[in-house]
């Protein structure tokens, strides 16, 4: 997991510096937001001068899955005092969730579980800071980085993340709809079109999912199975 995060940390730091975001803000995004995918989206949005509410709403949508992690891990944290739960919540990410949930479900007792959780969180956190810093140094040491196809690095990174998910039909539908709507709304101000496209994509995905999980015939127009 920590090795897996390294290239993304470096790419994030490099992209942020290359898009003209100051060093302090780049480091702050990793230090206090600490949510990889929303940091990438933020670089793209800040770089194109998106309105603040659009940035905040997009962050909300992109990071909402952490609420699911928060709910899933609650049974393992119920017995912990608030001084444990607040920092554990702050450090909750995809990677930490994957590792900790698996470990707590199968192996560890209550006391050791909390220490395992805290240890994993800290390791992932420090790892992310280190690779962000490496990316910032790389970004600063290559002058004129933005002319070297830096925008393209973002496109390639996102394409590489999305493509394997397209094997699932509903995800493919979501991506097609989101991409089409984004294309049609691309000239809207403040990157508003991005929000509309994301909502349209998610809605289409849920719709396609509902169609594929209920293969039994339904009465047209009512959604109910024939009697």
């Amino acid at each position: 997991m920590m090795v897996g995060a390294a290239p993304f940390g470096v790419i994030f730091g490099t992209l942020a510096i290359g898009s003209g975001i100051p060093v302090w803000a780049t480091l702050a995004l990793s230090l206090v937001v600490f949510a990889g995918s929303s940091q990438f989206v933020a670089v793209s949005l800040i770089g194109s001068g998106a309105a603040l509410p659009v940035l905040w709403l997009t962050t909300f949508v992109v990071n909402l899955r952490h609420a699911l992690y928060s709910a899933t891990l609650l049974p393992y944290a119920r017995h912990l005092p608030a001084r444990w739960r607040w920092p554990l919540a702050f450090w909750l990410t995809d990677e930490t969730f994957a590792v900790v949930e698996n470990q707590l479900r199968h192996h560890t007792g209550e006391r050791d579980g909390a220490h395992y959780w805290l240890g994993s969180s800290l390791a992932m956190y420090l790892n992310w800071q280190l690779w962000t810093l490496v990316g910032v140094v790389v970004g600063q040491s290559i002058p004129g980085l933005s002319n070297l196809g830096l925008d393209f690095a973002m496109v390639a990174t996102f394409a590489a993340i999305v493509a394997p998910q397209l094997r699932e039909r509903p995800v493919l539908v979501a991506a097609l709809v989101a991409g089409t709507v984004a294309m049609l709304t691309r000239s809207w101000p403040y990157k508003l079109g991005l929000m509309i496209a994301a909502v349209a994509g998610v809605t289409a995905g849920v719709w396609a999912d509902r169609k594929s999980v209920s293969p039994q015939a339904t009465v047209p127009g009512t959604g109910r199975p024939p009697v």
Binding site: A159, V171, A174, G179
Partner: protein
Amino acid sequence: MTQYLLLAIGGMVLVTFGIRLSFLVFGHGLSFPQWLERALRYVPASVLTALIVPMALAPQGLLDVSTSNAYLPGSLAAAVVAFFSRHTLAAIISGFLVYGAWRWFF
């Protein structure tokens, strides 16, 4: 610019930390709604695709599917390699090679 960045990052912290705190600190007795769990599965693909499609198809703002647009073959290469290999870094590097070669030839 500094004020914009401070507000941007501050808001992102409130939103993100709030989401993470939700159940762990305030969520006793609540359960995560199932419809939302289903919807969340489609968020990454929707948001990321919405970001990259206009950049790949219209890097200058207008639809450009000519040979002068290296973004399109480059991002398609990254997507195809990722689709078949599931190897993110290899996909990004392949994308860059195609992008670079395209700009060199056209």
